[in-house]
């Protein structure tokens, strides 16, 4: 009593200590919840990878175990021999490369024109773009099939690729970005006599790298993971992409058993490219770059 009134310091310290104990309990509970959630989010992927190396009986009976009883590579062998997985992957890669390059280039071209170049009808074009962005993708399935049939492009690479070469949301992202960078640099270049395309290509685009990377990630993921459009734009097995091909495995006309190892192996393999892209650009995607380490 006398001690506390005399200095006041112990009381402050004790107060501080109780505050810390409370914090410790809260922190422990928070960590427990977050770790549990993280397990719920990650474990399914881990047992899928494990499952792809199990025998079918093992995968069915011990779905939870992270280690196969006996390591079996049958699923992967079958994927590369009796299933045309490489052909599907080739189609997916071809389409993804073309669509991603095209979207990054044409979306930024159009976005630049809409934000910087003064031309008659610009407001109308932009209003049209906003309207187009409001059209949900699934509503387009039947219409897209109809036009591909009409133009004779159904069941061809052209029919699978051309309709998704441009995406309105990408144009919008680029337009917003170009509006955020100062106009003075370009005007200086233009006064110095650089042409409009040159200014765009060698001065504006290098400044737009962050937005271009965003667009690249979105386009890559979007075209690699695209499924519904390839269901309605093709029918021959040669044109299967990884998504439609693996879907035919999953919805399963595969002979006997549940074939879990085979399906899981296919799901694992088809996820590798998007996972790689994700881990390369992880810091940018998760916005951990600013203060991530410092904090």
């Amino acid at each position: 009593m006398t001690a506390t009134t005399a200095t006041g310091a112990p009381r402050i310290r004790r107060h501080h200590r109780t505050y810390t104990t409370g914090q410790i309990v809260t922190t422990a509970v928070t960590y427990a919840i977050l770790i549990l959630l993280a397990v719920v989010y990650i474990y399914p992927f881990l047992i899928s990878v494990a499952g792809s190396f199990k025998t079918e009986a093992d995968a069915t009976q011990n779905p939870l175990s992270l280690l196969p009883q006996t390591w079996s590579f049958t699923a992967y062998e079958r994927l590369f021999t009796s299933v045309p997985l490489l052909g599907w992957a080739g189609n997916s890669a071809l389409i993804t490369v073309i669509v991603t390059l095209s979207r990054v280039f044409f979306d930024s071209l159009a976005g630049y024109a809409l934000s910087r170049l003064h031309f008659r009808g610009r407001a109308i074009v932009f209003a049209g773009l906003i309207a187009v962005m409001a059209v949900p993708n699934v509503v387009l399935l039947i219409p897209r099939f109809l036009i591909l049939k009409q133009l004779g492009l159904y069941d061809s690479y052209a029919g699978m690729i051309i309709p998704i070469l441009i995406d309105a949301a990408g144009i919008f992202i680029m337009k917003q970005f170009f509006e955020s960078i100062p106009v003075s640099v370009e005007e200086a270049a233009r006064i110095d006599g650089a042409g409009i395309f040159r200014t765009f290509w060698s001065i504006v685009l290098p400044m737009a790298v962050p937005a271009l990377i965003t667009l690249f990630i979105l386009s890559f993921q979007g075209s690699w993971n695209e499924f519904a459009h390839f269901i309605v734009s093709r029918q021959s097995a040669d044109l299967n992409t990884l998504t439609t091909g693996v879907a035919s495995l999953t919805s399963g006309q595969l002979g006997e058993g549940n074939q879990y190892p085979l399906k899981l192996a296919a799901a694992v393999l088809m996820s590798i490219p998007v996972a790689v892209i994700f881990f390369i650009f992880q810091r940018r995607i998760l916005s951990t770059s600013e203060g991530g380490e410092k904090g």
Partner: protein
């Protein structure tokens, strides 16, 4: 001078937007017009729709919406299923995403990068891969049921169970409801199989929306929260009275995107057997596809597509209207002032 710089801009402007306009025009605008025509015709899929069909007026729309029969019942079932999907997925994914964002934004949290990666990763994978994994997880003797068995619970045969989760309660309601379904069917809740798809949607979208909330939280900064904490506000109080109001614009964005996205479920339905079990996972998006491509009722399928389009546009406009109401600071303030004045007057009236 100005003319000299601006001169060629018109030509270049058009040249830069032309590729985009051609693709969007030919593969988006034109197809919609063609499908709109088909939705008013009796085209059966043979040859070109132009010239091999006759207009039938609003018959396709009537078959789906008004005339009782299989088409109407299927459409009603699809709407019912999707309604439950929306009602459960949208609040769950929003709440979970917000919770995760607040947690991984906490400066004191260790391994924030790891947690962000863990929660976001499912959003990266394709619908095909993740649905395949879920079919494995929710198999009758699969991982989920084995975990449930630890707690002594016998899990259902998830993907094969067509029973609505409320059906024991609503079984007696045999009166006819809208769109050719009984009230028992309307009120029986999502089927067990649909619940798996609901969990799947929450699992794959919460990470994406977490990032939207996270970006907003980082813009808000920590100063105001810290001030509130100095003033003695507890963490729950701080969240609901300080953080949440500042996240309102993002919250509305997430709700809008959620509402639009949840009415578009197609891939997962295709992969889990096209509405199986017993049409309890059928959605309008899949029904439109199936009606056209399998039943060859192209007009009817296109009509369902446009009805779905209408639903999504209506919901977006509704959201925008609600959002604008919140954003109109001045009229809102005026209304608040008027309400306050009225309350004061009433209080004075009561006193005298």
């Amino acid at each position: 001078m100005a003319r000299g710089i601006r001169g060629p801009e018109g030509r270049y402007g058009w040249a830069f937007v032309t590729p985009a306009m051609v693709i969007i025009g030919v593969f988006l605008v034109l197809p919609i017009l063609l499908a709109l025509y088909v939705s008013f015709s009796d085209w059966n899929g043979l040859g070109s729709p132009l010239g091999n069909s006759r207009p039938v007026g609003g018959e396709n729309y009537a078959n789906v919406l008004v005339e009782s029969g299989l088409a109407q019942r299927d459409f009603g079932t699809a709407i019912r299923n999707n309604l439950y999907y929306v009602l459960l997925v949208v609040p769950l994914q929003t709440a979970l995403a917000l919770f995760l964002a607040v947690q991984v934004n906490n400066r004191l949290l260790k391994a924030r990068g790891f947690f962000r990666t863990a929660f976001y990763f499912p959003s990266v994978t394709s619908s095909v891969a993740i649905t395949t994994i879920f079919i494995f997880l929710f198999a009758s003797s699969g991982a989920i049921n084995q975990v449930l068995a630890w707690f002594g619970a016998a899990g259902p045969n998830w993907f094969a169970d067509p029973n609505g989760i409320f059906s024991p309660v609503t079984g007696g309601l045999t009166a006819d409801g809208p769109l050719g379904l009984t009230w028992a069917a309307w009120l029986s809740g999502p089927s067990v199989a649909m619940c798996v798809l609901i969990i799947l949607a929450v699992f794959t979208t919460s990470g994406t929306f977490m990032l939207l909330f996270l970006a907003a939280l980082q813009n808000v900064g920590t100063e105001i929260e810290e001030a509130a904490s100095v003033d003695g506000a507890g963490s729950l109080r701080r969240f609901f009275s300080v953080t949440l109001p500042m996240l309102k614009p993002t919250l509305f964005t997430v709700l809008t995107l959620g509402l639009i996205g949840t009415w578009q479920v197609f891939d997962q339905i295709y992969l889990t057997g096209g509405g199986a079990p017993g049409k309890t996972t059928l959605t309008p998006a899949f029904l439109a596809y199936d009606t056209s491509f399998s039943e060859l009722q192209w007009g009817e399928g296109a009509a369902i597509s446009f009805i779905l389009f209408g639903i999504i546009v209506a919901l977006t406009l509704f959201q925008r209207w609600v959002l604008r109401d919140r954003d109109l600071g001045r009229s809102g303030e005026r209304r608040a002032r008027r309400a306050e004045a009225r309350l004061r007057r009433e209080a004075e009236g009561a006193r005298s």
